[in-house]
């Protein structure tokens, strides 16, 4: 089939999620002709997320048509190099999006900055503890950019997304009520923190009694009506639940659909093409310059779109897969320990303590977004790791995200899974329980990576992406140690029953955990260990930028969205201020 070749444009952006939408908006304002290509369908929130249909747990959490359609394309998965990877046939551990707005159309609004340590994991660990503290085969590394360099872009993103919270560190001054362990921020959050829920206040009191510094978790579900810098108005969150996995009926959840796209679509220099699935970046004969992308349009026709600048800004998996399918950068080989594309795939670990009460009622259906209370004492390198046998950590939080009955009807440990005793426990404890959860980091290791599957293909005949991943001893030790700390807080609250479950055993693709997959096209200062430079520019093909979670060399404990947004703002500025003035490799 011969592709229809379109007239050239200045910039093509692949993906319209958090990263892609910001890059489109920032570059469309420069006078360049920008085209955004999105494999999913158009979303009109007023139509797609209208009440009362938005409050349908079965439709959105179980059978959502804004999640990736696995019948067309999925990934394959195995725990280790000596297994055969098999396709992820149904949605489980994570829920990548497939629509205009991307995964953020249904995200949970947890917005925390990464810690300064997260950006310099290797060098700071060696500096504080010596080289022997780094686990064997750990490939975690420095990002090539520091927290301080990225701070203005965190600030930009948080104002774009109207994040509500309380600063804990303003220009180096510790602030009461905030998270004292965060990196210094240049100004307050754009919106105030949410009030504490009942569960959150019990957690805060117990944590304080143990000497910790609890704070309200920052959230991108609006804590008040908010006008963002793109002059878009977001409504106040009514805490009706049905938040994560769902689109917001109130337009109170910051996402590309509410904070960027309505302004972006007004630009005459911008064109959005939904249902356009990019399958390849085409290079010149020397493989030093990208000339176009090839995509399949809504009717399945092959279309070639030439462009001067090509930005891959899709999900971690798709960014990495497009590089591999296009022959940009050397594929990673874990045996020879050579190559870079697909290297340093990672995820996030967890751990939880479930608390059940007889005399406390939490109205758990009220809530939404990241509403909750956290402590940061055990995150990153905020505590002394000497002799602990692991690096990294977790933040510990109680979240009132809106408990839905299919997903969140919890019963105490020892309760049968069905029958009258289950029913009795479900009736009593649905509203009388909450969870203290660890949100844990995950370091990168030599045998955890992404490559092209040798067996399974998508509906276009192209190889699926293959994931090789398991929990490392480092993450299991970390989770066990911090889950014990969480259990001490739980005991201070005094539930009648509790269960304690750290991350253990093998990683499984089955239960939902988080859509926080990262790496594969990581950034860094050295082309031997990174795919893109600190400006998110390909080392090999300088007119290709790769922006997203794919750039993280290892995973922080904190949710990735804020950092993906900040990297997009940083990349947009780098392109505008440096690349466009002198197209070529930025050094």
């Amino acid at each position: 089939m011969t592709a229809a070749k379109l007239n050239p444009v200045d910039v093509v952006v692949v993906g319209t999620g958090v990263a892609g939408s910001i890059l489109c908006k920032e570059l469309a304002g420069t006078g360049l002709k920008v085209v955004g290509l999105e494999r999913g369908r158009m979303i009109d929130p007023q139509h797609d997320f209208a009440m009362p249909y938005a409050h349908d747990e079965l439709k959105f959490d179980r059978h959502s048509d804004i999640f990736q359609n696995l019948s067309r394309e999925t990934i394959t998965f195995r725990n280790s190099l000596n297994e055969m990877a098999l396709p992820m046939r149904e949605m489980g551990s994570f829920k990548p999006g497939e629509c205009v707005g991307g995964t953020a159309a249904h995200w949970g609004t947890h917005t925390r900055r990464f810690l300064p340590w997260d950006f310099e994991t290797r060098s700071r660990t060696i500096e504080r503890y010596g080289k022997s503290q780094i686990p064997e085969d750990c490939t975690s590394q420095d990002w090539g950019i520091t927290y301080d360099e990225l701070e203005p872009y965190y600030d930009q993103f948080e104002h774009l997304y109207g994040v509500g919270g309380k600063a804990g560190n303003l220009n180096g001054e510790i602030q009461p009520g905030g998270n004292p362990f965060e990196g210094p921020r240049s100004r307050e959050y754009p919106n105030p923190p949410a009030p504490m829920t009942y569960a959150g206040s019990l957690f805060a009191k117990a944590a304080e009694s143990l000497g910790y510094k609890p704070h309200v978790s920052p959230t991108a579900a609006m804590t008040q009506a908010y006008l963002n810098p793109y002059k878009l108005m977001l409504g106040q969150c009514v805490r009706g639940g049905f938040c994560s996995s769902h689109g917001c009926a109130m337009g109170a959840k910051a996402s590309p659909l509410t904070t960027v796209l309505p302004a972006l679509l007004k630009h005459k220099d911008f064109e959005l093409r939904p249902l356009s699935n990019v399958i390849r970046v085409n290079l010149d004969s020397a493989k030093k310059r990208a000339v176009s992308v090839t995509y399949l349009d809504a009717r399945g026709r092959e279309v070639e779109q030439p462009a001067d600048l090509i930005i891959l800004a899709s999900y971690t998996f798709n960014n990495t897969r497009l590089l591999l399918l296009s022959g940009i950068g050397k594929p990673y080989d874990p045996v020879a320990n050579r190559g870079v594309v697909g290297r340093n795939y990672s995820y996030q670990s967890s751990g939880k303590v479930a608390l059940f009460f007889e005399d406390k009622v939490f109205n758990p259906f009220m809530g939404g977004g990241a509403r909750g209370t956290s402590i940061d004492e055990f995150n990153g390198d905020n505590f002394d790791h000497s002799g602990l046998g692991f690096i990294g950590g977790a933040y510990v939080a109680v979240s009132s995200s809106g408990a839905m009955p299919i997903r969140n009807t919890a019963v105490p440990p020892g309760t049968p899974r069905w029958g009258s005793d289950w029913k009795k426990a479900a009736a009593h404890y649905y509203s009388r329980n909450f969870t203290i959860a660890l949100h844990g980091g995950s370091q990168s290791f030599r045998t955890h990576y992404l490559d092209l599957d040798p067996t399974y293909r998508d509906t276009n005949g192209l190889p699926l992406l293959r994931m090789t991943f398991d929990w490392s001893e480092n993450e299991k030790r970390m989770s066990a140690w911090i889950t014990n700390k969480a259990a001490e807080i739980a005991k201070a609250i005094g539930p009648s029953k509790m269960s304690v479950d750290p991350t253990a055993g093998h990683y499984s693709i089955v239960p939902y955990q988080s859509t926080h997959n990262i790496g594969g096209a990581v950034m860094g200062a050295d082309p031997v260990t990174s795919v893109v430079n600190k400006y998110l520019q390909s080392w090999d093909v300088p007119n290709v930028f790769v922006v997203g979670g794919s750039a993280f060399p290892q995973n922080s404990a904190n949710p990735p969205t804020g950092t993906i947004g900040a990297l997009a703002c940083w990349a947009a500025d780098s392109i505008k201020d440096l690349y466009l003035k002198r197209p070529g490799a930025l050094l």
């Binding site: 009362p52 048509d65 396709p87 206040s201 899974r417 649905y430």
Partner: protein, 220 residues
């Protein structure tokens, strides 16, 4: 389904299969002093509607081979669709029951039924064409879904699942007025999407219902 006439209209399941499911889900979530169970909630009807939908043929799942069994961590790897799982497993479970007890599942005593369900759950019973655990885990998951999903999907009739646990259904826009009332139960008549579709509950200009508060007479 309240207000509609097709609450016993089955599109995929046959009558013997419906009798099996009614009996099985009545053991998973029994009717008791706390209220109706999964059978009364219409869970068999819910499962039928699900099986007749795209999900019943795994319309959004990856369906290409090869099909090695894989590890537990690699998840669902069966060639069977949910339609095929229910069809084969109900027949084969009844074959087992007739062999053991000379009766199909629905005529066994509750205790015998529980034994069969435990046998499916832990794999103690072997089915001919698929792992018993695969069938049980699907049946368990669909029973919970049918008991707690919006009644517009055929289960959770009269919102009995939501009444049991105190879930209000479609949210009201006024939770901000209640969220700082700590340890004060918010008890209301639940509102379903079906209630709103069929005009039994009015909504405000943004589509949110107003909840009718229940008296604090329910035992804590």
């Amino acid at each position: 389904m309240q207000g509609t006439s097709n609450e016993n209209a089955y599109r995929y399941l046959t009558q013997p299969e419906v009798r099996f499911l009614d009996a099985a889900v009545a053991r998973l979530i029994p009717a008791d002093e706390l209220g109706p169970g999964a059978k009364e909630a219409g869970v068999a009807c819910f499962i039928d509607q699900q099986l007749a939908s795209a999900w019943g043929t795994h319309g959004r799942n990856y369906r290409m081979g090869p099909w090695p069994e894989g590890t537990l961590q690699q998840g669902f790897q069966s060639r069977f669709t949910p339609q095929e799982i229910y069809r084969a497993a109900i027949r084969e479970t009844n074959v087992h029951c007739i062999k053991q007890h000379q009766k199909p599942f629905e005529f066994l005593t509750p205790q015998q039924q529980d034994e069969v369900l435990h046998g499916l759950e832990d794999g103690g019973i072997e089915l001919e064409s698929l792992p018993a655990k695969l069938f049980f885990s699907l049946l368990h998951r669909n029973t919970m879904e049918g008991f707690f999903a919006d009644p517009m999907y055929g289960g959770n009739r009269d919102k009995v699942g939501w009444r049991l646990i105190g879930f209000p259904g479609v949210a009201a826009a006024s939770y901000n007025d209640h969220i700082e009332e700590h340890n004060v139960p918010y008890r209301v008549e639940p509102v379903s999407i079906l209630d709103i579709q069929e005009g039994r509950v009015k909504v405000d200009s943004q589509g949110y219902p107003k909840h009718a508060m229940l008296g604090q007479t329910k035992p804590e």
